[in-house]
């Protein structure tokens, strides 16, 4: 479970202080998929980076399974699986070596790594490229490798930044099923997206973010009721107050 409490983060830019995240709070429960939905530049990635301890909030707190992400960063990282925005797969290593590298950094032994890799390969459908060097991988292959790498230590909490970005329909479907399986295993899954259909299909709890603030949150049904609109797209537009950055 991940609890986020009134997060703030500002950056210095040439034009002055940019408030990337300006008061974000939500709770992502176990056995649920929580989606951060918002236009480009809304502060989703910055919020997630504070969740996975790479950024320190200016104000507010993140608790992962009850542990503070700033004070107890190493412990929090152990219970997190992270797919960053840029996948960061090593090109000269094979997919298997990429996964094993992170397994070892998480302190796993070779047998555990091998067993977990087999399971993830089967679940994500990576059989035909698992022993190929990542140079020349398609976007989908890279994403799958990065996801397997993020999950090799069997984390309770999974954070995915735009997981379906750049994937074709079939890969997206497969990935969706994989994420639902993670949810069924009782894990806490958080993902960010700017695509409403994606979020509506997957997420039990949707947090709409724009300009660094939470505009509304709840289930898809609740959001429709809240905005008084018939479909989610109209609800989204009404809730963020503009059509900026909207993609379907």
């Amino acid at each position: 479970m991940i609890e986020v409490e009134d997060l703030h983060k500002a950056f210095k830019a040439k034009t002055g202080l940019v408030r990337a995240v300006d008061g974000v709070s939500f709770v992502a429960g176990d056995g649920l998929v929580t989606g951060l939905l918002g236009p480009n530049g809304a502060g989703k990635t910055t919020t997630l980076r504070m969740l996975y301890t790479l950024m320190r909030p200016d104000r507010g707190a993140v608790r992962v399974d009850g542990h503070d992400a700033v004070a107890d960063a190493a412990r929090v990282r152990r219970s997190l699986g992270v797919l960053p925005d840029a996948r960061g797969v090593y090109k000269r290593l094979t997919a298997r070596e990429n996964i094993a590298y992170f397994g070892r950094l998480h302190g796993l032994d070779a047998q555990t790594i091998a067993a977990r890799t087999e399971r993830l390969v089967a679940a994500l459908g990576m059989e035909d490229f698992i022993d190929r060097q990542a140079e020349g991988f398609s976007q989908g292959q890279r994403t799958k490798t990065a996801i397997a790498r993020a999950l090799v230590h069997d984390p309770q909490n999974v954070i995915l930044d735009e997981p379906t970005n750049g994937l074709d329909v079939m890969t997206t479907r497969g990935l969706r099923e994989f994420l639902l399986a993670l949810k069924a295993q009782g894990r806490c899954v958080i993902l960010s997206s700017h695509i409403m259909q994606e979020v509506a299909l997957l997420c039990d709890h949707i947090v709409i973010i724009a300009q660094g603030k939470v505009m509304a949150q709840g289930s898809a049904e609740q959001l429709r009721l809240l905005s008084g609109e018939g479909n989610l797209e109209d609800a989204f537009v009404r809730l963020i107050g503009s059509e900026e950055g909207l993609a379907s």
Binding site: L54, R56, D85, A86, G88, L93, R104, L105, A150
Partner: protein
Amino acid sequence: MKALWTVMRKELLDLFRDRRTLMLGLFMGPLLFPLLILGMGSLAESRARTQLESTLELPVVGAEHAPNLVAFLDTLDIRAIEPPADPEAAIRNQAHEVILQIPAEYPSQWRESRPAVVEILYDSSRQDSRIPVARVESALRGYSRQVATLRLLVRGVDPALGEAVVPGRRDLSTPEARRGMVLAFLPYLLILSAFLGGAYLVIDITAGERERQSLEPLLATPSSREAIMSGKIAAACAFGMLSLLLILLSFKLSFQFAGSGPFRGMDVSLAAMAKLLAILAPMVLIGTTLLTLISASVKSVKEAQSYMSVLMLLPIIPTVILLVSPVKNQLWMFAVPFLAQNQAILMVLRAEALAPLEWLVYVGAGFGLGLLLWLIAARLYHREKLAISA
């Protein structure tokens, strides 16, 4: 500690998969440096030998005024040839290295036993003219002394009266040390290889990885940043030592095969090579940690690389200082980076032994500086900006 090994193994595997970079990194130096040193050495030597031993063709202006002198020069393998129309221009436009000018007054001065003036025209800024000018000068001195001795004898004076002090020379340098002098720039090549040999690798695994955005997931693992950074530094140091080993071996082999070159008798035993490797080890650490520090503080690979031109000059500084004002070896020198390596390498090549205290200061100062740079780099690795490049 385990994370350190994991990172080191991964970085080396990653590097060794990149065959072309690896080959260039490992074998360029070992192939080029010996060629450079041996080639330049033998070129200089053969040039000097031809200039010293071959017949020197000397344009003589007014040769008709001094037939005896010209005949004497001929016995020393200096053959007089027809002078160019404008001797001064001929020197200036480098048509001739040296021209002898015998004025018209020469015969009368000669007959009256007054000092007869002859002129040697040359350009002192030309390296090439050094040996021919010295040959002509020494031939003229020899002729002058011979004739002067005869004149004194004719007048019944002992020629030895003309020489109050006779300086004699005894060269006490060891043969190894003389080779060492020829090799003034070998230390620079070795220090530079140690200092920056793995530079592109170091820059790549910190600044490059940041640019490729793979540092973000890596730093989100529970491994400590110190361990990750140390693993990268260890990988770069291992690579640096391997490439140094190859360079030293190639020097050893080429010096041995060079036969009668100017480097014969230099200490290239395996023990000396091992000592050189030990001497260069702190330099490898200093270079790697310094570059890691730089890579962790800059925005891009390009920015990190622009530091390289300055860094390449650092190892030259002691060589230049020693060239301008040579000083005796003192203990404090072994604590100054670059200067210490320079002195220690020269001592090994000259087959002189380093005292235990000198070793102690050397190793202490070298690794001490490496540790300091490591600490600063580790601080920079904790910066929030490091993980995030987008």
